[in-house]
């Protein structure tokens, strides 16, 4: 699968769909591509919409969440295997934490996104998709 066929849907794009209660734009993207999101972005949506009382009740938020999931977006999860593959840098002589994601200079949201989308042997997306995510966050945060 080449990078053309994988689209990273960033927080602003997800937020727009939730605000409009309309996920048709995601469905259009799907015609040609796989859409992936960061799990921390969808959890952040929940926090932000509740905190700011944006267009929402618990029921509406859950309904929109279901619609979004049913549109077929893919969320690379942070599971045990992901931790083993992505949380560490390993060479023959040393094990270190992956400094880019493992520091307090960036938000937990950014750390989780880096870990979820870091390229490893099971990733079906490539470096371009990872960089798209990284650049999006770097507009708001810095290492």
């Amino acid at each position: 699968m080449n990078s053309e066929s994988v689209k990273f849907l960033n927080y602003s794009e997800i937020e727009s769909c939730f605000k409009a209660n309309d996920f048709s734009s995601v469905e259009k993207i799907f015609k040609n591509r796989v859409v992936i999101c960061s799990v921390s972005d969808i959890l952040f949506i929940c926090e932000q919409f509740k905190k700011n009382n944006i267009n929402t009740t618990i029921g509406i938020l859950n309904d929109n969440h279901k619609k979004f999931i049913n549109s077929g977006v893919y969320f690379p999860q942070i599971d045990k295997d992901n931790l083993l593959d992505n949380l560490f840098d390993i060479d023959e002589n040393d094990v270190q934490l992956w400094e880019k994601a493992c520091n307090k200079k960036i938000s937990p949201r950014f750390s989780v996104s880096l870990l979820a989308l870091r390229i490893n042997s099971s990733s079906f997306w490539n470096e371009d998709t990872f960089e798209e995510m990284e650049h999006y966050y770097l507009n708001f945060e810095s290492y």
């Binding site: 969320f75 083993l84 949380l87 750390s111």
Partner: protein, 168 residues
């Protein structure tokens, strides 16, 4: 018996205990920082019943992968030379069979949605709750209704709706 979800600080003390008391060899948990004597006894019961009889009737211990990420984000401060990066990775790779490393996934959305955005503290002031603070609560809620939460976070222990689930 109830399962117990650990928050980040309790998980760090648990991993430190795991190596300090050589649980992976034949040691026993003891009272240590956030691990109370009562909690240590519960851990020893789970461990011994699993070792001797292969049963999990006393529940399992659970931590979200996010708790491991939080430890990694401030490793020197939280681990504080109590365990090394190699030991940290070894624990993730081979935790005891009665310890579950629970995925951070989008299914937690519905459980986060059940939680308030703010919590009122005993002094009357309100503090905000962010998704990263409440992942451990959502993880407990996503399990069955008797899954408990071991947390020392002053905000989490004041969420009214989860009082019955607090363990420490």
């Amino acid at each position: 018996m109830s399962d117990i979800v650990l928050d980040t600080n309790v998980l760090a003390d648990f991993i430190a205990s795991y190596y300090k008391f050589e649980i992976n060899v034949s040691g026993s948990f003891e009272e240590y920082k956030t691990i109370s004597r009562f909690f240590a006894e519960k851990l020893n019961l789970i461990n011994s019943n699993y070792k001797n009889y292969g049963v999990l009737q006393d529940g399992v211990i659970i931590a979200s992968t996010f708790a491991f990420v939080e430890i990694a984000r401030q490793f020197e401060k939280i681990a504080n030379k109590r365990f090394s990066i190699i030991q940290f990775r070894a624990f993730i790779e081979s935790p005891p069979d009665w310890f579950i490393i629970y995925s951070l996934n989008e299914e937690l959305f519905a459980y986060l949605n059940l939680l308030p955005s703010y919590v009122v503290m005993p002094g009357g002031n309100s503090l905000t709750l962010e998704w990263a603070d409440t992942i451990h609560v959502a993880t407990a809620l996503s399990r069955d209704e008797i899954c408990l939460l071991a947390t020392t976070d002053g905000r989490l222990v004041n969420i009214v709706d989860i009082q019955k689930r607090l363990y420490l």
